[in-house]
């Protein structure tokens, strides 16, 4: 079963396929948030996520002739973004950038944070990013596609060039790791809290 492609989107796609840059800009506007979010969740660096999202749209514009018009555009675009981010993460690992370098990264504002965006929410966001950063690139991509985009195992497999069983096993491994990381974070917070409450030696 193939999900229906919205009529407006199909029109933009058809025009963009003929090289209409304005029509593709409409698609960029429609998908900038999901693509950026995926890049940010993968890379945990706002300027790099912006750059990766821009590159994703450029790649999509150039490779539009490879997109099957009968298939939905969003998973195809997310697949490009995932592969691009995985490549960036591998290059980053080659440059020996340590995770600690990214620990201080401020999580960008949510769509409508308003004044109620509390310190607790920010801390929670930071913790989510720290957990994701502890996963291998493909596992991270699988988790992001599953929890933010609600893609099925088959769709995740298509996006990441993996079989359905490989997706299941990677997600299983990732969940175990995430649970461990969450517990480790709890213990660390408890230890820090305990130290804060310790009476001074003096």
């Amino acid at each position: 079963m193939t999900p229906e492609v919205p009529i407006e989107e199909a029109r933009w796609l058809a025009r963009a396929r003929e090289g209409d840059e304005r029509a593709f800009a409409q698609l960029v506007e429609a998908y900038e948030r999901p693509v950026y979010n995926l890049c940010y969740r993968m890379l945990w660096d706002a300027p790099e996520a912006e750059d990766a999202a821009q590159e994703t749209f450029l790649k999509a514009f150039r490779g539009l002739h490879r997109h099957d018009p009968d298939r939905p555009f969003r998973p195809w675009l997310l697949s490009i973004a995932s592969h691009h981010c995985i490549d960036r993460l591998r290059r980053r690992r080659l440059r020996l950038t340590s995770l600690e370098d990214l620990q201080g990264e401020e999580v960008p504002a949510a769509p409508s944070p308003g004044p109620e965006a509390t310190a607790l929410e920010r801390e929670q966001s930071r913790r989510v990013q720290q957990m994701l950063a502890g996963l291998a690139p493909k596992e991270r991509a699988a988790v992001v596609l599953r929890y933010w985009y609600d893609l099925s195992y088959v769709e995740i497999g298509q996006a990441l060039s993996l079989s359905e069983s490989a997706v299941k096993s990677r997600l299983h491994r990732a969940r175990r790791q995430l649970a461990d990381l969450w517990r480790a974070g709890d213990e660390k917070a408890l230890a820090a809290g305990g130290r804060q409450n310790e009476p001074s030696a003096a």
């Binding site: 950026y36 450029l58 769509p111 913790r127 957990m131 929890y147 933010w148 609600d150 099925s152 649970a179």
Partner: protein, 155 residues
Amino acid sequence: MNPQQPERDRRELDLPGWAEAEAALQAAPMLGPAVGFSRRWRLHLTARRARHARRQSLWSLGLALGGALAALAAWVLIGPLGAPADMAVELAVRVAAWGRGLDLLLGLADALLGALPLLPRFVGGLWLLLTLGWLSALWLASLYRLSVQEIRNGG
């Protein structure tokens, strides 16, 4: 999340810490880029195209310069052997001479092939000539013997 969560997902809910981790993942918002992303994308595209065009023109220029340098190097290396124009003229003359020689050979071969039907008649005439020549030689030998040798013998 898919409402029909697979069995494995449900089992993982039993992992200590997983329920909280999953709740945090589900609560995490969809983040968006700074305002003007689409406009920046168009600028990015324009800049990329300009860079591509610049790179292509640099390549063309490099190739042209490389070709010119290669030609210059060849001229410098071959220079002691003679002027390039003279060498070219000499080569042209030689090629023309080889062409003429080849043309002559082909003409000769053509003529010989054309003369093939006359060969039997030519062979018949040759036999007649050989016979007449032989008889003439015999006649001359007889004359020599009768005249010169007889005088020498005092006859």
